[in-house]
Amino acid sequence: MKVRTRSILIIYLLGLLLIALFLLDIRLGSISITLTDMADHLLGRSRLSDQQLVILTKFRLPRVATALMAGAALPVCGLQMQTIFRNPLAGPYVLGISSGASFGAALVVLGAGATGLVATWSLAVAAWVGAGTVMLLLLFVSYRIKDVMTILILGIMFSSGLAAIISIMQYFSQASALKSFVIWSMGSLGNVTGSQLNIMVWTVLPLLVLTLGFSKVLNGMMLGEEYAVTMGVRIQRTRLIIFAATSILAGTITAFCGPIGFIGIAVPHIARFLIRRSDHMELIPASMLTGMVVMVFSDMISRLPGTERILPINAVTSLIGIPVVIWLVVMNRKAQSL
């Protein structure tokens, strides 16, 4: 119980840091909108100009909201995969779930030229189906093969295979479709439309709450299936629900933001390091908050303050995540388990 206070303190601190970064991030940009301006506007003391208002509500806030959702959802996917596969290196990206989603998205962007709301929904659904298919394959394989390394290698093979198919599709596609696909694949938080944001909110938020409700069950799965069963966990049902949740979470984020690497795998470890506990009831909120902090921070970096250029978000998160993963692998050699 005494240890728990540390987790609560860390969660508060992360919350404060997140609020600070959030405010800093919406302030950032070529058009200056200060926090006092915004506060005055909200309190009705003075009004922001129409231009400022449009920039704030149509560009900056949706982008930060997207960053927050991606930051909360991807680490949860990673954490669930790490627990269920009992592998510290599992994550949506490594296991090929993001690639499955990318493949679905590629079919929509490169193949069908759907536009508007149809395009938005078909993009989401295609990504879910793609992610879900890879997930099912992993589920099927993991019933037969218990070795965690094998599953990781299979995930890597799935993603390489799908990448190969995607590159063939790119080769045969129209120049304009190709361009929009390449831009999508670099990852962006700023290209999310209003209707996409809507879908994201209505899928991501309920699933995050659902996941939190599965904390106890995830705790029970930490020692492996046999222990889980003898502690009363219904593993078949749990796996199915968790896998579906992960597919939809990772699928949604990938569909609208492009593949975002290393957040899913690295952030749960940062959270574990911070709270030093493995209870999912504490680890899940801590991972979500850490993920949101990292994503908002990455977003600020990607926009290269003081310039007009924007870096692909995937590159920024990878550069942040990779050292964590390397640290993990090196430490893992000493500690044996994580």
């Binding site: 119980m1 009992r86 965690v148 409700g213 904390s215 106890k216 705790n219 029970g220 930490m222 020692l223 492996g224 046999e226 222990y227 069963v229 003898t230 502690m231 009363g232 966990v233 219904r234 574990r272 506990r277 493995s278 209870d279 009831m281 500690a335 044996q336 388990s337 994580l338």
Partner: protein
């Protein structure tokens, strides 16, 4: 008789196990586990020890037959009800998550906690008691990866203990342990009987099992023999078990001895009991049988100057400063 029946925690009837109908490992088993007893399951690798334990507690479906848990068929219990009656420890102590001992043991309360998994003050009390019970009090805050194999296994056992079940099933809990740790662990398990729990564990270590178990299940030639360790000893089973491997069970010493090289008889004499014990052990290890009045004699002399061993045969005698040089001499003889 009806009273006797209520004693059964587990009753297996016409129980057949295996992974497929074509490859039955053990068939038509009739076995019982009574309240407050410790059962050791002995058998060679691949004989079906794990499968039997896992079939008994619903981790593997039996091929046929029934398993009654406290008189009621196992399948009629919900998973949570089962978890409150039967706990399990596997031999696997690799690939554990990075938990502290306290966190790990806390997982054992899962069948009792609310949907959020919150531990009550009562739960915490039980957790500390279990940690104390396995003598890990000083390690409560230690991470599993920083523990020795024996400590890890004890922590896993505390997790099962805290689950408050009438039956604890352990699959080769001593698999990775050295001799003293094995002994310690089995003694620890046998203490759990005091709280009315029953323990079933599988092991390769017949010697410790004979010392501590109330009953043994020995898998031999596709059948299971059930009985007190001494019953099975009387039936000559132990020697039969190892008949093809050159190992003999010495009923006097309660140990397994190698019967490979039988070199003849030797008499060991001397004053100090400890010197005699170790000298006999050396001779036995080399394949000699101890017999008074044998032609070959070892006399142990101890004085203020030190200890020396005098080996005497028909040809004469030789003096040695320690058992090692004596043994080297005997081997080359």
């Amino acid at each position: 008789m009806s009273d006797h029946k209520a004693e059964h925690i587990i009753l297996l009837d016409h129980f057949s196990i295996g992974y497929q109908k074509e490859s039955i490992l053990l068939s038509q088993l009739h076995l019982t586990v009574n309240r407050g007893e410790m059962i050791a399951l002995i058998g060679k690798n691949g004989a079906g020890k794990s499968t039997l334990l896992k079939s008994m507690i619903g981790l593997v479906a039996p091929l046929e037959g029934v398993c009654l848990l406290a008189g009621i068929p196992f399948e009629e219990y919900s998973l949570r009800e089962r978890a409150r009656r039967v706990s399990f420890v596997s031999s696997q102590i690799t690939q554990l998550p990075s938990l502290t001992v306290e966190e790990l043991v806390g997982l054992g309360r899962i069948p009792y906690t609310d949907w959020m998994g919150r531990l009550t003050a009562g739960d915490h009390k039980k957790i500390y008691k279990a940690i104390e019970e396995v003598q890990m009090g000083a390690f409560a805050g230690r991470k599993l990866e920083n523990l020795s194999d024996g400590e890890k296994q004890r922590a896993m056992i505390a997790r099962a203990f805290v689950q408050d079940t009438t039956l604890m099933v352990l699959d080769e809990p001593t698999a990775f342990l050295d001799v003293p740790s094995t002994f310690e662990l089995v003694r620890l398990l046998s203490r759990f009987k005091e709280s009315g729990r029953s323990i079933v564990y599988s092991t390769h270590d017949l010697e410790t099992a004979i010392q501590f178990a109330d009953k043994m299940w020995v898998i031999h030639k596709g059948r299971i023999l059930e009985g007190a360790p001494e019953d099975l000893g009387l039936s000559g089973l132990y020697n039969e078990l190892f008949s093809d491997s050159g190992i003999k069970y010495d009923e006097q010493v309660g140990r397994f001895l190698s019967s490979v090289a039988e070199r003849g008889f030797v008499a060991v004499t001397g004053e100090r009991e400890d010197l005699l014990v170790w000298t006999r052990k050396t001779a036995e290890r080399l394949g000699y049988m101890i017999k008074e009045g044998a032609d070959l004699k070892i006399r142990v002399e101890s004085s203020t100057a030190g200890v020396s061993w005098i080996l005497q045969d028909r040809k004469g005698s030789t003096r040695f400063k320690n058992l090692y040089t004596l043994a080297r001499f005997l081997i080359q003889k």
